[in-house]
Symmetry: D2
């Protein structure tokens, strides 16, 4: 941490700030520049709020130089983490191909989609049982019945199941029955829920919040890891920008950035990002080309009758075409399918 | 709802989309323009997802013309709602003056701040017992002990208490002991929590999410109201933009906009928005000038030693000066202090 | 400037970076921390691009600690600058009240509006002769004819004229005939134009770009000042955010921030920011309450027939009401009307 | 265009708005819904400002259903446009591989880089002679001397030259000597300059503004096309968002979106978007995978000594590796290299 003093700070003020820093167990090193004086703080500053020093009248600004996360930090864990989801590996050169409907509607629906997706190459099944909806009047998902259906289709197809947890009330059920627990974008900073995920045995798929910086996103992973569960997979699903033609702006730069800053696998959801089915194919291919460790794609057998988000779903035939391109692109960037 | 067909949509496609709409219980009215055809959908479209129709190949876009909220909508409730917080009225020409430390640290601290703030004119006491922190390593608040302190200071000063609820686990305790339950920006779309707030007797202070549109924010209020609790107060606390000099960008346009769209009171938190104490005074005055129904301001007797967010706290003396200006400005815009 | 080295940077790498810095005429001071080494660069770093050092493999990040602007910097010019626009003072405790139609349409129109606005208290006349329009097919303004009308109305009313310059081709004409030359948001980083403004005798009203940070905005003022014209007034007119209900988000925090960082007057345009006439009154009052040195408000005698932006124009009667409130608010924040 | 009236609009108000629309030469079609009435406007609404009707008290909102651009619209020009840059084709299945230094520094520098890039497969040479810089104190480019160098290197290598035009003063020189005239992000809405580009014979590379929506960007292309020059290539270079770890957020969804809305070629600049050299490789590959018609990449033989933006430049060896990957990916998405 570096504390920059205001141009005309006095010797007394410098001494006072210096003492404040030392009182928190840090060492200091003072650099007197031409126009300003800087205090370099030496020691573990991870747990110190830089704002504390900004209050001081003599302080111009405070800058962090160390990343505030440790367990997720690649600096302390140079190899890629590979997360095992009931036998399916994600990370390293393994590509997760997660497919399924936005919402679980019926056993027949999910089964048909899952079988088709598996035939195309999918290795994980997604489907929403509990749905986060902006409107209280919109379809909220089948709930426990939806979970039963997903488990039954897992039985029939062998595909491990990914589905979203919205409430701590269902934590035990999810821990028992779901293979990969998804935390949605709107709960990325539901810190109460994050802490409880540390108690769970299952790996976590942590979606990026619509307005989360890379650092905040990693800090949310750190919450889960610090609570005891190190099996975290990050999922880029688009951020909110000024552009409204697409639902969100898919930030593929996040892939190389996160792989540099952390050792966690990074999966991309091109369906929710753009909100339009015809954006899924080019963005899915681009995500793999940019180094993603997996794709989460909505597939529906009858998008026009989907209870939710039909507009962004691929038909099974189209999904098959997308995976065909992925199979050609993946080896170029060092992934196997 | 209006469905715009693509330029070269055929008669068959038009008939197909027309049928889809009617199947959902709506009436239609078809407008054939020069270059395009439009289907006007007549009936209650609040609960229909416009995306459903966008899937259709012949559809160019779908536009909502009705607001998707009802209980919060001023169109159906033209008078200002006035919320009663244990005897303190908020809304109409009543100004809520909420003050207190970011975090509860000790009984003495809170008491001293509360007494000073009350002497200046504050009518509600704020203080964080459970703190949402970006980092798992940061101070997370005193928890239940903090709540005890707040209640004791209420006893001593008569000021009703506002504090943040982060977990459904504490719902009953908060309902029993807290006068105004705050839902933080990061939980604004924690739909599970919102639904449970409908079961509570206490009024709710709903902060705007960092990236929430007005409509999404109102929809979160609608969640609480539709679940059974109509006493909702909205709190503008800044949104995330590209500007990073300030912590967030305080959006004062939200005040007149929300007052036009809804009948709910709107309170402003200038402390969290800017993140700098010297921004609080001008922004507090401006918020009242723009028509806010209240201010939530952080006051600390020793900001330099605050356990959290000291940089944005006012000292009691400065708070007193701010309220002095407020007392002069309020009558000009029709508020009493 | 501070250069942070990567955790495992070697002695040789440190020496190499140290030399690079010294080669640019700076002194260095090395701070060896627990986990990382920092090089403090001492001397004038204003003209050094920090990215240059980021290229180096051993460098983790480079941080600027000095503001990159000088002439506009309050640190070197502690008093408020007061700009004189043909006898009307802007800055300090003087409030600029700029009013007029978005576009100049006819002599009669401008005259009627100007007379009414002056009677209400306006002291400067605005009106667009050359209009920046997103569409090549939209009305582009009356051009030179519009300028003639503005000058004629100035003759008739005594109000100095503010109007937008879009092209260097008209620089001489504007210098001769316009009292305050406005540079629009979309030209805020038209560096070629900014440099030429240094040659002009007239003061400049520099609007904030839709996505300009405070620093970039000040740097654009610095361009004009460094080229020879120190009479710059900054104009906040809203920034682009994710919120689309309003045209832009008016950032009133910019007022206290700019007054802290610079000595230049800051004027606010609430008409363009929100794009809706009913937002103008509360935002105009709020802007003055926040410390603005002036207001630029669109007034039109028949908004329904305006050739451009009628939706955000006030009728003269409403403008009169707004100024009435302003007259009551201004003294509270130390301004005279 | 669709005009939505307020819930309680009277018959007289409806008739008045209806007349206003008809006065502008449009036909109307009235749809009376359960809660609201809608006026469908039939005819060419491209040149009508929807805000005009929003002024009316009885109007709730106005929505455009037609795109406001014509010449750039794929609806009226279904085939891909292929732009010829002095013999190098861009668009269709042709990939533009533009490489070179950020700034022109010397003949030797540019020649060495151009020869290496050409050997790797580059078919166009970029280099900045006139540089748009945020700071007036930063290196502004070699100007005409830089242009001379670029032309000399074109002579030596046969690579056509791309460089940025900042001022209308140099329009004739650029038209004579530059093969592809680049308009930078900050001038994307310099409408005066855009209009003058219609007079030029050379194709234009139009960079996206940092905060430009797809529609605004296309409208800027439409400005050039409507002024007489239909040879426009669009260049995605990242947009400004809340994320500051990267310089900007590269929006690869823009590629499929623009190809759907327009017939113009779309090129991507991964160097400026991220601002970090290690982001260039994954983003360049991803851009081609997403369907880009070309890449503009900064290559420098000694990034550490570059006068500008060295941090985002690739060394020639690395550029060669990137093109190797591109050569494998391109055929999968239907492009030839």
């Amino acid at each position: 941490m570096i504390i920059v003093l205001k141009p005309h700070a006095t010797k007394e003020q410098l001494a006072h700030v210096d003492k404040l820093v030392k009182d928190r167990g840090l060492d200091t090193h003072i650099v007197e520049g031409q126009d300003m004086t800087i205090i370099g703080c030496i020691g573990d500053t991870t747990m110190i709020d830089p704002k504390l020093f900004e209050v001081n009248e003599a302080v111009d600004k405070v800058m962090h130089v160390q990343e505030p996360y440790k367990l997720a930090n690649r600096a302390f864990h140079p190899e890629d983490s590979i997360v095992d989801v009931s036998g399916v590996k994600i990370g390293g050169d393994h590509l997760a191909l997660i497919a399924g409907p936005c919402s679980v509607e019926s056993y027949e629906q999910v089964l048909e989609i899952a079988q088709a997706a598996k035939a195309s190459g999918a290795n994980l099944l997604r489907g929403g049982a509990f749905k986060p909806r902006t409107s209280p009047y919109a379809f909220q998902g089948l709930g426990m019945e939806g979970l039963d259906i997903l488990c039954a289709v897992r039985e029939a197809t062998g595909l491990p199941v990914v589905t979203e947890l919205m409430s701590p009330n269902y934590l035990d059920v999810f821990n028992e029955r779901v293979d990969l627990i998804q935390i949605g974008a709107r709960n990325m900073q539901n810190f109460d829920l994050l802490k409880q995920l540390g108690q769970v045995d299952r790996p976590i798929l942590l979606k990026r919040g619509l307005n989360a910086t890379y650092e905040e996103w990693i800090m949310s992973a750190e919450y889960i890891m610090a609570s005891g569960n190190e099996n975290v997979i990050l999922c880029e699903r688009g951020i909110r920008t000024f552009e409204t033609y697409t639902r969100n702006t898919l930030d593929l730069q996040s892939i190389p950035v996160l792989k540099r800053l952390t050792h966690l696998p990074v999966v991309v959801d091109p369906s929710h990002a753009g909100g339009k089915w015809w954006l899924v194919e080019p963005m899915a291919i681009a995500a793999v080309a940019a180094g993603a460790d997996g794709l989460m794609i909505e597939v529906h057998n009858n998008p026009e009758c989907a209870l939710c988000d039909g507009a962004q779903s691929l038909k099974p035939k189209k999904y098959d075409m997308v995976l065909n391109s992925i199979k050609q692109i993946a080896p170029v960037v060092g992934k196997q399918v």
